[in-house]
Symmetry: C2
Subunit: 98 residues, 2 copies
DNA sequence: ATAAATATATCGGTTGTCCGATACATACTT
DNA sequence: AAGTATGTATCGGACAACCGATATATTTAT
Protein backbone atom coordinates (compact mmCIF):
# COMPACT_ATOMS: atom_id res chain seq x y z
CA UNK A 1 0.00 0.00 0.00
CA UNK A 2 1.42 3.36 -0.99
CA UNK A 3 0.84 6.05 1.57
CA UNK A 4 2.49 8.70 -0.43
CA UNK A 5 -0.37 8.68 -2.88
CA UNK A 6 -2.69 10.05 -0.27
CA UNK A 7 -5.70 10.11 -2.43
CA UNK A 8 -8.30 10.22 0.19
CA UNK A 9 -7.62 10.29 3.80
CA UNK A 10 -10.86 8.58 4.48
CA UNK A 11 -9.51 5.06 4.62
CA UNK A 12 -6.92 5.90 7.22
CA UNK A 13 -9.27 8.06 9.16
CA UNK A 14 -11.62 5.12 9.43
CA UNK A 15 -8.82 2.86 10.57
CA UNK A 16 -7.90 5.46 13.13
CA UNK A 17 -11.43 5.75 14.41
CA UNK A 18 -11.89 2.00 14.60
CA UNK A 19 -8.66 1.68 16.52
CA UNK A 20 -10.32 3.51 19.37
CA UNK A 21 -13.74 1.93 19.37
CA UNK A 22 -15.66 -0.81 17.62
CA UNK A 23 -18.42 0.59 15.48
CA UNK A 24 -20.85 -0.26 12.74
CA UNK A 25 -21.10 1.64 9.49
CA UNK A 26 -23.65 4.15 10.65
CA UNK A 27 -21.72 4.98 13.78
CA UNK A 28 -18.57 5.49 11.76
CA UNK A 29 -20.46 7.86 9.48
CA UNK A 30 -21.65 9.82 12.50
CA UNK A 31 -18.16 10.03 13.95
CA UNK A 32 -16.86 11.32 10.61
CA UNK A 33 -19.62 13.88 10.56
CA UNK A 34 -18.43 15.07 13.93
CA UNK A 35 -14.81 15.29 12.94
CA UNK A 36 -14.96 16.60 9.40
CA UNK A 37 -18.20 18.46 9.46
CA UNK A 38 -19.61 16.40 6.62
CA UNK A 39 -21.15 12.98 6.66
CA UNK A 40 -19.96 10.58 4.02
CA UNK A 41 -22.70 9.13 1.87
CA UNK A 42 -23.51 5.43 2.12
CA UNK A 43 -22.01 4.99 -1.31
CA UNK A 44 -18.74 6.21 0.11
CA UNK A 45 -18.49 4.44 3.40
CA UNK A 46 -19.66 0.95 2.68
CA UNK A 47 -17.32 0.33 -0.23
CA UNK A 48 -14.45 1.48 1.94
CA UNK A 49 -15.47 -0.90 4.71
CA UNK A 50 -15.76 -3.68 2.18
CA UNK A 51 -12.33 -2.99 0.82
CA UNK A 52 -10.76 -2.83 4.26
CA UNK A 53 -12.41 -6.12 5.13
CA UNK A 54 -11.21 -7.78 1.94
CA UNK A 55 -7.71 -6.62 2.68
CA UNK A 56 -7.97 -8.17 6.10
CA UNK A 57 -7.51 -4.92 7.97
CA UNK A 58 -10.85 -5.03 9.74
CA UNK A 59 -13.33 -7.72 10.71
CA UNK A 60 -16.95 -7.84 11.74
CA UNK A 61 -19.30 -10.46 13.10
CA UNK A 62 -22.87 -10.87 12.05
CA UNK A 63 -23.74 -7.69 13.86
CA UNK A 64 -21.60 -5.67 11.42
CA UNK A 65 -19.61 -4.10 14.19
CA UNK A 66 -16.15 -3.54 12.84
CA UNK A 67 -12.83 -3.67 14.60
CA UNK A 68 -9.21 -3.67 13.57
CA UNK A 69 -7.40 -6.92 12.97
CA UNK A 70 -3.80 -7.36 13.99
CA UNK A 71 -2.90 -6.61 10.41
CA UNK A 72 -5.03 -3.50 10.50
CA UNK A 73 -3.22 -2.31 13.59
CA UNK A 74 0.11 -2.75 11.89
CA UNK A 75 -1.15 -0.95 8.84
CA UNK A 76 -2.30 1.98 10.90
CA UNK A 77 1.03 2.07 12.67
CA UNK A 78 2.82 2.24 9.33
CA UNK A 79 0.58 5.04 8.23
CA UNK A 80 1.35 6.91 11.44
CA UNK A 81 5.03 6.54 10.84
CA UNK A 82 4.62 7.84 7.35
CA UNK A 83 2.71 10.88 8.54
CA UNK A 84 5.25 11.56 11.22
CA UNK A 85 8.05 11.46 8.72
CA UNK A 86 6.28 13.58 6.16
CA UNK A 87 5.05 16.14 8.64
CA UNK A 88 7.86 15.90 11.09
CA UNK A 89 7.42 19.59 11.81
CA UNK A 90 3.67 19.43 12.06
CA UNK A 91 3.73 20.07 15.75
CA UNK A 92 3.88 23.75 14.89
CA UNK A 93 0.79 23.30 12.83
CA UNK A 94 -1.11 21.85 15.72
CA UNK A 95 0.15 24.54 17.98
CA UNK A 96 -1.21 27.20 15.64
CA UNK A 97 -4.81 26.12 15.96
CA UNK A 98 -5.52 25.81 19.59
CA UNK B 1 -11.98 24.60 -1.43
CA UNK B 2 -13.14 21.44 0.26
CA UNK B 3 -10.64 20.02 2.68
CA UNK B 4 -12.72 17.06 3.55
CA UNK B 5 -12.15 15.57 0.14
CA UNK B 6 -8.52 15.08 0.89
CA UNK B 7 -7.64 13.62 -2.42
CA UNK B 8 -3.99 14.17 -2.35
CA UNK B 9 -2.18 15.75 0.42
CA UNK B 10 0.39 17.05 -1.96
CA UNK B 11 -1.11 20.46 -2.44
CA UNK B 12 -1.19 21.22 1.25
CA UNK B 13 2.18 19.70 1.83
CA UNK B 14 3.59 22.07 -0.75
CA UNK B 15 1.88 25.02 0.88
CA UNK B 16 3.29 23.87 4.18
CA UNK B 17 6.79 23.58 2.80
CA UNK B 18 6.63 26.95 1.10
CA UNK B 19 5.43 28.56 4.29
CA UNK B 20 8.80 27.81 5.78
CA UNK B 21 11.08 28.69 2.90
CA UNK B 22 10.92 30.12 -0.58
CA UNK B 23 11.80 27.54 -3.19
CA UNK B 24 11.70 26.79 -6.86
CA UNK B 25 10.09 23.70 -8.32
CA UNK B 26 13.17 21.54 -8.22
CA UNK B 27 13.87 22.38 -4.61
CA UNK B 28 10.32 21.59 -3.64
CA UNK B 29 10.64 18.23 -5.36
CA UNK B 30 13.81 17.51 -3.40
CA UNK B 31 12.19 18.46 -0.13
CA UNK B 32 9.28 16.14 -0.89
CA UNK B 33 11.73 13.39 -1.66
CA UNK B 34 13.24 13.91 1.74
CA UNK B 35 9.94 13.86 3.56
CA UNK B 36 7.98 11.20 1.74
CA UNK B 37 10.74 9.05 0.41
CA UNK B 38 9.58 9.51 -3.15
CA UNK B 39 10.17 12.36 -5.53
CA UNK B 40 7.18 13.63 -7.43
CA UNK B 41 7.55 13.63 -11.17
CA UNK B 42 7.69 16.92 -13.05
CA UNK B 43 4.27 16.13 -14.43
CA UNK B 44 3.00 16.15 -10.89
CA UNK B 45 4.64 19.12 -9.36
CA UNK B 46 4.45 21.79 -12.01
CA UNK B 47 0.73 21.49 -12.60
CA UNK B 48 0.21 21.80 -8.86
CA UNK B 49 2.35 24.93 -8.74
CA UNK B 50 0.46 26.33 -11.67
CA UNK B 51 -2.85 25.67 -10.01
CA UNK B 52 -1.76 27.21 -6.73
CA UNK B 53 -0.53 30.23 -8.60
CA UNK B 54 -3.76 30.61 -10.53
CA UNK B 55 -5.68 30.42 -7.29
CA UNK B 56 -3.51 33.19 -5.94
CA UNK B 57 -2.10 31.13 -3.11
CA UNK B 58 1.50 31.44 -4.20
CA UNK B 59 3.53 33.85 -6.30
CA UNK B 60 6.85 33.81 -8.05
CA UNK B 61 9.06 36.31 -9.80
CA UNK B 62 10.96 35.70 -12.96
CA UNK B 63 13.32 33.45 -11.07
CA UNK B 64 10.50 30.98 -10.40
CA UNK B 65 11.07 31.02 -6.71
CA UNK B 66 7.72 30.52 -5.06
CA UNK B 67 6.38 31.88 -1.84
CA UNK B 68 3.02 32.06 -0.14
CA UNK B 69 0.74 35.00 -0.68
CA UNK B 70 -1.33 36.41 2.15
CA UNK B 71 -4.21 34.39 0.76
CA UNK B 72 -2.04 31.29 0.70
CA UNK B 73 -1.18 31.79 4.34
CA UNK B 74 -4.82 32.02 5.23
CA UNK B 75 -5.58 28.95 3.20
CA UNK B 76 -2.89 26.97 4.96
CA UNK B 77 -4.20 28.16 8.29
CA UNK B 78 -7.68 26.92 7.39
CA UNK B 79 -6.25 23.59 6.37
CA UNK B 80 -4.43 23.36 9.69
CA UNK B 81 -7.64 24.02 11.53
CA UNK B 82 -9.38 21.36 9.54
CA UNK B 83 -6.69 18.82 10.30
CA UNK B 84 -6.73 19.71 13.94
CA UNK B 85 -10.45 19.23 14.12
CA UNK B 86 -10.45 16.00 12.17
CA UNK B 87 -7.53 14.51 14.01
CA UNK B 88 -8.09 16.18 17.32
CA UNK B 89 -6.68 13.09 18.99
CA UNK B 90 -3.76 12.74 16.64
CA UNK B 91 -1.29 13.66 19.31
CA UNK B 92 -1.38 10.04 20.36
CA UNK B 93 -0.50 9.12 16.84
CA UNK B 94 2.58 11.27 16.89
CA UNK B 95 3.57 9.96 20.25
CA UNK B 96 3.48 6.41 18.97
CA UNK B 97 6.17 6.92 16.38
CA UNK B 98 9.04 8.53 18.10
C1' DA C 1 -47.78 -9.24 11.55
C1' DT C 2 -47.38 -4.94 9.15
C1' DA C 3 -45.55 -0.65 8.60
C1' DA C 4 -41.96 2.60 9.32
C1' DA C 5 -37.49 3.69 10.20
C1' DT C 6 -32.81 2.65 10.06
C1' DA C 7 -28.76 0.28 8.41
C1' DT C 8 -26.31 -1.98 4.68
C1' DA C 9 -25.02 -2.73 -0.05
C1' DT C 10 -24.23 -1.95 -5.06
C1' DC C 11 -23.72 0.52 -9.37
C1' DG C 12 -22.53 4.24 -12.66
C1' DG C 13 -20.54 8.35 -13.25
C1' DT C 14 -17.74 12.41 -12.10
C1' DT C 15 -13.81 14.42 -10.64
C1' DG C 16 -9.13 15.25 -9.44
C1' DT C 17 -4.47 13.38 -8.33
C1' DC C 18 -0.64 11.73 -10.06
C1' DC C 19 2.48 9.82 -13.40
C1' DG C 20 5.31 9.03 -17.74
C1' DA C 21 6.66 10.92 -21.84
C1' DT C 22 7.84 14.57 -24.29
C1' DA C 23 9.05 19.27 -25.44
C1' DC C 24 10.94 23.64 -24.28
C1' DA C 25 13.75 27.01 -21.76
C1' DT C 26 17.53 28.40 -18.98
C1' DA C 27 22.00 27.96 -16.76
C1' DC C 28 26.57 26.06 -16.71
C1' DT C 29 30.94 24.27 -18.88
C1' DT C 30 34.66 24.02 -21.98
C1' DA D 1 29.55 29.80 -29.20
C1' DA D 2 28.23 25.02 -28.87
C1' DG D 3 27.06 21.41 -26.11
C1' DT D 4 25.49 19.53 -21.81
C1' DA D 5 23.02 19.46 -17.74
C1' DT D 6 19.26 21.14 -15.17
C1' DG D 7 14.96 23.25 -14.49
C1' DT D 8 10.22 24.20 -16.28
C1' DA D 9 6.01 23.13 -18.71
C1' DT D 10 2.24 20.51 -21.06
C1' DC D 11 -0.45 16.63 -22.52
C1' DG D 12 -2.87 12.13 -22.28
C1' DG D 13 -4.14 8.61 -19.63
C1' DA D 14 -4.61 5.49 -15.47
C1' DC D 15 -6.51 5.00 -11.31
C1' DA D 16 -9.09 5.61 -7.12
C1' DA D 17 -12.11 8.43 -4.00
C1' DC D 18 -16.30 9.93 -3.53
C1' DC D 19 -21.10 10.76 -4.39
C1' DG D 20 -26.12 10.18 -5.66
C1' DA D 21 -29.49 7.09 -6.58
C1' DT D 22 -31.36 3.01 -5.89
C1' DA D 23 -32.17 -1.51 -3.94
C1' DT D 24 -32.13 -4.64 -0.15
C1' DA D 25 -31.84 -6.16 4.58
C1' DT D 26 -32.58 -5.50 9.39
C1' DT D 27 -34.54 -3.50 13.39
C1' DT D 28 -38.23 -0.99 15.87
C1' DA D 29 -42.84 0.51 16.69
C1' DT D 30 -47.79 -0.07 16.59
Amino acid sequence: MRYYDMKGFLTYLILWILSKKKMNGAEIAKELQKRRGTKPSPGTIYPVLKELKEKGLITAGKDKVYSLTRKGEKELMSACEFFCKTFYDMKEMFRCCR
